[in-house]
Each structure stands twice: as C-alpha cells, then as structure tokens.
Symmetry: C2
Subunit: 332 residues, 2 copies
Amino acid sequence: MNIRSPYLLFLGDAVDPLSIKMASSAADWCPELCVGEYALPGCKVSAGLNNISIDEAVQSGAKSFVLGFANSGGTLESDWIPHILEALEAGLDIISGLHDKLTSFDVIVAKAKELNRQLIDIRHPTQKFKTGTGTKRTGKRLLTVGTDCSVGKMYTSLSLKNAMDARGMSSTFRATGQCGILISGSGVAIDCVVSDFISGAVESISPNADEEHWDIIEGQGSLSHPAFAGVSLGLLHGAQADAIVVCHAMGRDHMRGLKDYALPSIEETIALNEAAARLTNSQAKVIGVSINTSSLDADEAIKQCAAISERIGLPVVDPCRHDIGVMLDGLV
Amino acid sequence: MNIRSPYLLFLGDAVDPLSIKMASSAADWCPELCVGEYALPGCKVSAGLNNISIDEAVQSGAKSFVLGFANSGGTLESDWIPHILEALEAGLDIISGLHDKLTSFDVIVAKAKELNRQLIDIRHPTQKFKTGTGTKRTGKRLLTVGTDCSVGKMYTSLSLKNAMDARGMSSTFRATGQCGILISGSGVAIDCVVSDFISGAVESISPNADEEHWDIIEGQGSLSHPAFAGVSLGLLHGAQADAIVVCHAMGRDHMRGLKDYALPSIEETIALNEAAARLTNSQAKVIGVSINTSSLDADEAIKQCAAISERIGLPVVDPCRHDIGVMLDGLV
C-alpha cells in the first residue's frame, strides 16, 4: 500500500456521528495529514475540520480523498459515486475502509485507470499470510482488548503510544482495523483476513524486535461478543501479549448490536483474556483498564475510575481525560 | 454449488497417506459416489478403490474429477495440470478443496470454458455472509470439538449421523470443511470464511429446524491450537451447541505442526469448550469423548477408553471400532 497524504475527508450527508468513524479518527489522531472535510447538503455531523470543496482541497495539497465512513454493513452508496469521480478528475487517489470494494465498481475503476489514480481498499488485505506458528518472538508486546466492540481500543492504543513516546520508550503502533491503518499508514484489517490466517497475520505485523521495544497492537471485538470473539481470540494468540489493557465503555446496556447480551464485568474480562493469552505467552498480564467515560461528567468519571481501581487493584483511567502513562510504571 | 457425482479420485504421485485426505474421506464415507481412483506412477498410497484411467472412469459414469489432496499450504502442483486438462477433455467437471483456486490457472479456465465444464473450488465460499446474531434458533445442535486439529471430528460427526439414523432420530450433517462438503454435497469451509463472518456463517448453515431435529455440526481446529483457536471459538459460538462431543487422538506428542505445544488434557478441553459455549447456549454440555485409537491394538483401545470414561464420567469410544450410539442415550 502506498497511501498518499494529506487527505480530504468525505462525510457525504451523514447524520450519525458514529457513521463517520474513519473521518473522526483521522481528524483526531493525524490532523496534520488532513486538509479539511467535504460534507454534502444535509450532512448533520462534522469531524471538526473546515468544510471545503474538492478543488480547494487540491489547492491545499491534498493527495487522497478518504471515504470517511464506517457504516454498518460496510456498503458503498451509489450517491457517493459522482463525488468519487469528481475527486479522481481533480487529481486525488481514493481511500476506502468499507467492506464493499472500490474496485468492484466499474465506473470508478475505468475513471481511475484513465487518469492513473490509485484506488485503495485499506480494509482488504493484499498480502498472502501464513498460518500462526505460536513461536516466541523477541521484543515486547502490549495488546488492547475489550469488554465489547467499539469501546475505545484504538484510542487507548494510540494514547499508550504517545505515553511511551513521552517516557522515551521505544514503541510502534500496530493497526488491525481500517481507521488505525489510515492513521498509521500500515497494518492489516484483521476482520477481513481469511479465518485460517488470523493468528498468522497478527504474528506477521508484529515481528521480532529489540528486547526493549514495545509493539502496541490494536485489539478488535471482544471475547464475550457472540459474533466476533473468534477474531479476538486469534488476535490474542497471535499477539503473544506481555501486557494487556482492558478497554470498556460506561453506560452500555448490552453488547454492541445484540440487545439480548449483557456486557461482561471488567473482572470477568480480565480473567478470560489472561487465561486465553497464556496459551502463547505464559507471562501475559492485564496491567490496567481504560474506560470511555464520555457518558459521565468529569468529577463522576474520576470517582468511578477510582472506585474500579480500588476494587481490582490496577490503574483505571479514561485516556481522553486522564494520564494513561500511569499504566506504564510497572513496565519500565 | 452443483456438485455432480460420481467421482474419479485423483491421487497424483502422493506418498503420504495424510496428503490424500480428500480422496480417503470420499472413499470411506461415500464409496457409492466413487467410480475409482487415478494414481500416477510413483504413487505409494491408495484410497482403497480400483486404480482406473480417466477414460475408464467416464465409461463407468463418472461426472467429476476430484483432486484428492489436502496438502500443507493447499497448493495446486503444476504437474497435475495435464491430468486436469485430460479430465476436462474427457467430459468431467473438476472439484478441488485446495487453497489455490482452479480458477486462478488461465489454462484450466480456458479449457473449462471452451468445453463448458464446471470448475468447483469447494473450499472457497461463494455466498455473502452476515455477522453473527447470537439469536437462539429452534431445533437442537451437536458440535464436535477437538483437543487438536485432525483428531477425527468429521469421522465422529458422520458416525453420530449414522447412529442417529439407526435410532430413528431426525438429523442433518453440517459440513464445515472441504472433505465434509464433498461427502455431503453442501456446507461451508469455515477456515476460508473472512474472519468477521465466522459465527454468522455457522448460524447460516444450521438454521431454525423442528424442535426434535439435530444438526450435527462438524468442528474445526481446537481452542488450544495457537494458530486456529479463533476459528474454533467462532464456530462454537455460531453453533449454539446443546451437545458437544470432544474428539481426541491417542499417541500425539504435540499439537499438530507445533512441536513446542503440548496437547491439553481431555478434562481441560471439556472445561474450556463448555465455558466458552455457554456464552450463546447456557445449556451447552459435553456428552461424550470420541478417540482415534488407531495407534493401539483392539484390547488396549477398549481398556484405555474404559479408563478415561471411569475418570471423567462420560461415554468414551472410538467410532471406528465401537458403537458411538451410547453417547445418544441421554439425548433421546
């Protein structure tokens, strides 16, 4: 993959903030790579950047037009195609993180070919993977896991990367989802890998390294989610994590998308993940809990994190509000 | 898929009995669908059928030429191509269970198109799947699981199907691997499904059914295998099994392909699978253990099965030597 930045983030006429996860992630984590956002009439959300035209974006140096969506089902809407074609005409590559591939739309493929532009489906791995080996690798690894999907595993991973940088620790963020790949420029969307190769793919993106180096591997799904636990377990085994950070979101009534399934407790999630992780790393240990407290006010967030920390005997923070670096004290 | 039988089973010049798993499975479980085997000079193994030419097979009514291999890596050897082309010329469809697709070889595709024959890559799903829902389905389900890969989950599942038939129980075998698909004519090779859809694919092959009907779902991999546990967990959650049969092979030194990993105990395998299965079916229960005792003589096999049965309090049999029907007594 040769992802060219800076980006123009396309929002279409989205109305649900969660549906523009690709755009929000990029605006939050690599604003220096984004020249602006491009919203259509009717759009009710924003990634917090200036709304500019495709031509203005090109004048500001944009190289790629990013479909900012992560809608349920991952479908590419036909309404977006004229704007994709306009972006190609204006000189931009197209980047998509949807399940539907850009390359399956003849009109987009023909235009890109005619103009010699790249169509980058970053969710679809192009590599050939091997099956996992379980062989111990050099260097150290930290994995984020969740009580549920969409609880902040990527935000936590990137916050930990910043905290390691601040402490002078050598580390690399390893993306396993489309948003993380867009932000970091490399990685593999594990949920799109053929299931025989889940662990093998994770082994390949986190190879042997210096003994003091930390790979911070972005987790996916949850061992307690009936649809995605297989992905989470393969990721856990392939990661061979030395350190695990459990991620959780306050205020959820049920597992994402499944109203009949309650969330597991944090204690249960710690126990499940440590037990499973020890198949490939007998020293695997949860070192802290990262909580999305956006449903609480600031005082209540601090109070609840402290209460959970007291209960489980580990650091508990919201990385968007507190210093996540406290989790690293035991690692140095 | 429109799989046309009977089959001619192609063995190439194989020397390792395990490498012709596709052929052996078909010869063992659907001999009435096989007109013979086709071995090249140098071949040291047999599926136990008459070795005949492609022309003889066609005269005996063969409709498909089955690549009998399940080699490590799933590669299609270039030496086989002339024989595939000869089979197409003679009027046969081609069926392959390899990772390498028939449809990625231009010379094979051109010949098949010219002669209007089918190229069937049965390991590669052609359906679009949904993600799992975890929603309870009507009817009953039995899943085979393993201490390791290749311990006899398919043989156990098919033996249980026969035992249910003998007792007049309504049941359907649900294949999740290429050999099972060849034998039963339908199913999904779960190890080739994109990982986001493992559980959803299993839900789709085992839909709502009559309350007294049993789907017997073929398991894959092992929760204790560092490369494939993710597949096994997704399968377990999608199956929502009421009854689980643990499969094991005597005489293994280590997990298949991974010499540094010891096999889990049968007790550990029962506990791991029951705990994980209860996420989607709180009543999930192991009802027996099926053991491949081919490394033991007949008396020793009976003695060891009895000893394990005494220890764990469940029926323990080798389905190739003993009556597996005893496991069903508690289900009727």
